[in-house]
């Protein structure tokens, strides 16, 4: 897909500033997406906020890709309200040690979004002021959105994908 000029500018600026730390740049449905690493994530977010005017944190969430080296993707959606452009930042972290620095130092609104992500995926946001479960009960013991926890009885055979040619 062809990058729009605006997204291209952002891409160029990010590469100038962070070099190889900005990888896998793509633009699905016009939304600039890139992958970065957890050691620079706060710098990247601050840079996007202060320099590139992505003043608004739309959302933080995570995605679980089991079986990969870095199986949990923490996904940030940011928004530049003035130029009406959105951006998606991803950081892949390991499942065994799912830690990442907190974004509450950049946006206070990240607080509950990170608590939700911690609750559902077990991502530990280092430096978060109040990292407790938010939706599930305190003694649940697991992080239910991880793919190893099935929704329905795993012994059911009538819903397996192989019966549908997948």
């Amino acid at each position: 897909m062809e990058e729009t000029t605006l997204n291209n500018d952002i891409h160029v600026k990010l590469t100038e500033r962070f070099g190889e730390k900005v990888t896998a740049v793509s633009e699905p449905y016009g939304l600039l997406t890139f992958v970065t690493y957890k050691d620079v994530i706060i710098n990247v977010l601050s840079y996007l906020k202060e320099e590139l005017k992505f003043n608004f944190l739309t959302d933080i969430t995570a995605v679980h890709y089991p079986g990969k080296d870095h199986g949990i993707a923490v996904v940030y959606h940011l928004h530049n309200m003035v130029e009406k452009v959105r951006i998606r930042v991803k950081v892949f972290i390991s499942e065994q040690n799912p830690t990442i620095p907190t974004a509450t130092t950049v946006w206070k609104g990240a607080n509950w979004m990170e608590r939700e992500t911690y609750d559902l995926f077990g991502v530990k946001f280092e430096g978060h002021p109040d990292l407790r479960r938010i939706l599930n009960m305190d003694d649940l013991g697991v992080h239910p959105m991880l793919k190893q926890y099935p929704l329905e009885d795993p012994n059911r055979v009538d819903k397996k994908d192989e019966f549908f040619g997948r």
Partner: protein, 404 residues
């Protein structure tokens, strides 16, 4: 049992602070969420919000349902304006599938969404009136919410959890009664809204209770990721309908009202003005519909649009498409997409990752109430107890959207 929620256990007999479970004021404080406040007389010293009591794991359930079965889940997010959630979800999938809607469908959707916005704002604003002691206003305007629900009933058969429309359009065309009811609503509602405003907007008691209470600056609101009427009341003119137009909102002429100080009075005024603007939009949409070809209520995408049952039984193609859609076998691109709509409370976002399976690989809802509400406890500090109660009503917290 491991309680790591902070519980105020102040056993100091000398202490003059009182611990209070706030409520029931808001309908959901009967058990769906909880605010524990520490009070010094009537002043709030600190507060802790606990949510999650109606967490239904929609994001997990959505990973096990084909696209069309996710619509009923979205109903139960903000159940005061379910059609906006339904439409938002349909449009997310349509964006993924690159389906373009005929203009008539867009306009019908706009009508339904703006009616829901009015219903949503009616609830919030009348309840601000109710909580400041003006029950009359509540009773006057609330009947129009009923009229809106009657229109929904005519369009889709349901009232609250509407499951309205399909991926690719509507399940059926609006009938004549529906149009008649919309016209009746457009004729009667402005007078009632005017009356409602006459009762509250210049009311000395109401102004004293709301103006200057719970003021929020632009910077704080943006810092806390506020959206919707709450953000606009602080003076930021961010509206998804304008900044990221969907469903042909660019064809309509309307204004985005903004406040100045972000206090409760401004939020009330912003919501009221938005109701006027919604009426304007619906009127324009009704006018535009006249020049559109009648009878078009879905896009011509048989491979994604659920066919009518009659055809499924009599037509082989329809049967095949029906089977594929119901079993989640449609050919959707492997991609990820974020789509946002302006819900009653702000930016309602859908982050969908499709890996080519029968169900979404991941679906995340950006729920405006959830994100707006995190500021309630911090902003209550130093506030009077009675002000905190109207503050909560003016934030229009919908428990379903809080927990998902």
């Amino acid at each position: 049992m491991n309680h790591n929620h902070p519980v105020f256990t102040d056993n100091d007999p000398q202490s003059e602070l009182v611990t209070l479970n706030l409520g029931p004021t808001h309908p959901a404080t009967h058990g769906v969420f909880q605010n524990v406040l520490q009070l010094d007389g009537e002043r709030i010293v600190s507060g802790v919000s606990t949510i999650g009591y109606i967490h239904r794991a929609f994001e997990k359930i959505a990973e096990h349902r084909p696209f069309y079965q996710i619509t009923p889940l979205t109903d139960r997010l903000n159940y005061c304006s379910s059609p906006i959630n339904n439409m938002g979800w349909h449009m997310t999938v349509e964006k993924l599938l690159n389906i373009k809607m005929p203009k008539r469908v867009d306009y019908l959707r706009v009508i339904v969404m703006e009616l829901s916005r009015i219903a949503d704002h009616i609830i919030c604003n009348t309840i601000i009136g109710q909580d400041t002691g003006a029950t009359t206003t509540f009773l006057y305007l609330f009947q129009f919410r009923e009229h809106i629900y009657e229109i929904f009933e005519e369009v889709c058969g349901a009232r609250l959890t509407t499951n309205i429309g399909r991926i690719g359009g509507f399940e059926r065309d609006f009938n004549d009664i529906a149009f008649a009811k919309i016209n009746k609503f457009l004729k009667e509602f402005p007078a009632a809204l005017k009356e409602f405003e006459n009762l509250l907007t210049r009311n000395r008691i109401f102004i004293d209770r709301t103006a200057g209470v719970a003021e929020v600056t632009k910077e704080t609101a943006l810092e806390y990721s506020w959206t919707g009427p709450l953000l606009r009341a602080t003076g930021v003119d961010y509206d998804v309908r304008v900044s990221d137009p969907y469903s042909s909102y660019q064809d309509f002429d309307f204004e985005v009202p903004v406040g100045t100080s972000g206090d409760i009075y401004d939020r009330y005024l912003v919501r009221n003005e938005e109701m006027w603007q919604s009426v304007r939009i619906i009127e324009q949409a009704m006018e535009k519909l006249k020049s559109e070809e009648k009878g078009i209520f879905h896009a011509d995408v048989p491979e994604f649009y659920l066919p009518p049952k009659q055809e499924v039984y009599n037509n082989m193609e329809a049967l095949i498409y029906h089977f594929k859609i119901v079993m989640g076998e449609i050919d959707a691109p492997k991609a990820e997409v974020y789509h946002a709509v302006e819900g009653g409370n702000g930016e309602l976002g859908f982050y969908l990752i499709n890996d080519g399976g029968r169900t979404p690989y991941r679906l995340h809802f950006r729920r405006p109430s959830f994100i707006n509400y995190q500021m309630f406890a911090p902003m209550s500090e130093g506030m009077l107890l009675s002000d905190a109660i109207i503050n909560m009503s003016s934030m229009n917290i919908i428990a379903g959207e809080l927990d998902a």
